[in-house]
């Protein structure tokens, strides 16, 4: 089995930031904030976030300040941060049935429930919403047609609010573990290697589901229902060993998004030498501890 090319991935992430004036970069402009999250979290999981100092980025992005709301010493800064969040007023986007709208135009989706709950939990402001109703909305959804991304949002929101006892973990685990692709599966043969997870029946496996599916399995404690070793191998096979970065499946082009999900997946699978990741908060465990527990 190949090994994780950590150094190469660090170089890859740092190189992405430099390509600013191409058509590709412009077309991705709306994803820059996401890109910052994927890149920074990956660096931290690999234990390499300090490399930013070499690039003089550390003064723009004080890692401690960003990571730990508790450690923002100056009261003024704290107030600015809170104002920033509450001017967009996350809590006001909760609807009567407990669901959340994404913005003033009213689209309702479980991803907005997750984001609202995550954001308010990080700010110690869950008391600003009706948590019971928010949980109730999620647990009464029709789960006949689950999608891994939606499952992650629901399970993550329940985990953060301490409400995982509301779901049938075995039944959900059953559906999630069926997402692992076996060597005999139709259309997988010859096209892709087994062990990876797919998002929907009969689709090719994709590294990003090693986040959506795997984190949900970890949260409901059913990760032993899949073959962990084969999944590790699948992710490692998706690396670009020469130039760094991870792709959706072996031999495809790499990007920051899949690099993060691959590294995050390996962390959840307890690959040696990596920092632990919190499956519900999607942040390194030590960061979550600092913010939530004040440790």
């Amino acid at each position: 089995m190949g090994e994780l090319a950590a150094e190469k991935h660090v170089q890859f992430i740092l190189s992405v930031e430099k390509k600013k004036d191409s058509l590709e970069a412009v077309a991705m402009e709306h994803l820059r904030m996401n890109g910052a999250y994927w890149g920074l979290t990956t660096l931290d999981l690999l234990g390499k976030i300090q490399v930013l100092a070499l690039f003089n980025k550390i003064d723009v992005l004080d890692v401690d300040k960003v990571a730990s709301y508790k450690q923002i010493k100056s009261k003024r800064n704290k107030k600015i941060l809170l104002n920033l969040i509450f001017n967009s007023d996350v809590a006001a986007l909760q609807n009567k049935d407990g669901s959340f709208s994404g913005d003033m135009w009213g689209e309702i989706d479980t991803r907005f429930s997750y984001i609202a709950i995550l954001c308010l939990a990080l700010l110690h402001r869950l008391n600003k919403i009706n948590v019971e109703k928010a949980v109730n909305y999620i647990t009464h959804l029709n789960f006949d047609l689950p999608m891994p991304t939606a499952v992650f949002c629901c399970v993550g929101a329940l985990a953060i609010t301490g409400s995982l006892h509301h779901i049938d973990k075995d039944l959900l685990g059953w559906w999630l573990c069926e997402r692992q692709v076996n060597s005999g599966d139709i259309l997988i043969k010859s096209k892709a290697k087994p062990g990876g997870l797919n998002g929907r029946p009969e689709k090719l496996p994709d590294v990003c589901y090693s986040w959506w599916v795997l984190s949900s399995l970890v949260m409901i404690d059913r990760v032993h229902w899949i073959d962990k070793e084969k999944l590790v191998k699948f992710i490692l096979d998706c690396q670009d060993i020469e130039n760094g970065g991870i792709s959706d499946r072996p031999d495809d082009a790499v990007d920051v998004y899949h690099t993060y999900f691959g590294v995050a997946g390996l962390s959840l699978l307890e690959y040696p030498g990596m920092k632990a990741l919190d499956p519900a908060y999607a942040l390194p465990v030590d960061v979550v501890n600092r913010i939530i527990l004040g440790k």
Binding site: S22, H30, C177, G184, I186, P201, E202, K203, H224
Partner: protein
Amino acid sequence: MNEEELRRSEATMADLLNQFERILESDPQIDEVGFLHPSQFSELNKEAGHSPSFDDSTVLRSADGNSVFWNRDHKLGISTQILLPLYKTAKHAFMAASRQYKALNSKSDVSGDENSLCASLSLDNSFEGDVMKHSRALLLLSCDFGTAWHSRKLVVSHKHKLSDFLDELLLSALVLSYSPKSEYAWSHRQWIIKSIAGKCSTLSEIVTKDSELVEKIAERSKMNYRAWNHRCWLVTYMTREQLLYELKRSRNWASLHVADHSCFHYRSVRPCLLFVVILRDERLMLKILEEQCYKQEISSSGYSVETYQLWKEELDWDEMLIKRYIGREALWLHRRFLSLFWIKHFITNHTGVSSHGKQNNSMNNDFRIFMDNELHLLDSCSIIPDNSFDDYQSQAKHSATYILWLIKQIPDSRRIEFQEKLKTENLKALLNKACPERSSTWDSLVSYVEAAGH
């Protein structure tokens, strides 16, 4: 580049943006946008040169003589060479207009003075026009520019005119013509339909047209889950007649498109399409069920004959496909969906009212017939011929997990009746034979199902 050159190039770019926006203005029926490499212009010209309707206005050139836009028969091509500078200019123009529009709106909110309100209204109109003009240009270059979509919603909802909402449907379709998976373009459509629902007499027509649009896009772009998701969402706004019609059409469409008839072999089924067609069928069926619950209180005999028939037909259709296309996971998952509702709604007396003996008997009978059929299906699908293809192993695996799942779903009282026929250890043996690499998963699932039985 010195200052003089910089100014000149900025002016050229502003001209280009103007030209672009004039084309969009003068041909509101443009229904397709694409990006062309400079070499493709000459090919298009050659083609057009042979056609009698060719005229010089087809190709538009920049000041230095290069072809930059191509516009004919309501199709628009943009040279890839100018994309980056044109995008930057459009973004700059849009951001400026949007700032002015917002500043003006917040001012007229604060001062209630009528004179200044009139003055600001005419200003408002011009800024509104600028926002709409530049955001359109911008979105045709960068489909997921959220701020631009957001500004358009602001302006349109401010003006409250149905025709403006309908124009937004056109713009969204135009964006989808070059970027069929654009999340923003699809969610813009949902916002429009939600906004005009109840206010527009032609809603059902619009919904039908939208459903057709998805079909058109699905035929062109290989696998577009976002488009099908929109089609599932449209189901909410359909009448019962539309739902039944769509369900019928969907089966015909599936038989035409799911299997690739150029090759008769079962491997040629397009699996993703099969899944999305099925997904939508499930939405349609749930909505039909919901409509009925809403319209009439469920009579003592449960659901109407029509709904019963609908479910039966779908179960038969699925079984036919399972036998034709060996080992398709999507078809087996669909069967779980169908069986769950069959058990819940038609067989077990879910109303909780104690029913007459006669009715109970007929329900018992229904259940027995159903279970016999499913066990028969298991028998015929669990045979793995020697020197067989993997597909038969997949089929056996799916049939065994299906039956395991069914055991979990049927009520305890019924389970006893079938205990002999539904031995979990047999199923486990079958699973281990069909797919030995997952034996620890099968252990977990079987012990879960067994625990549920006690």
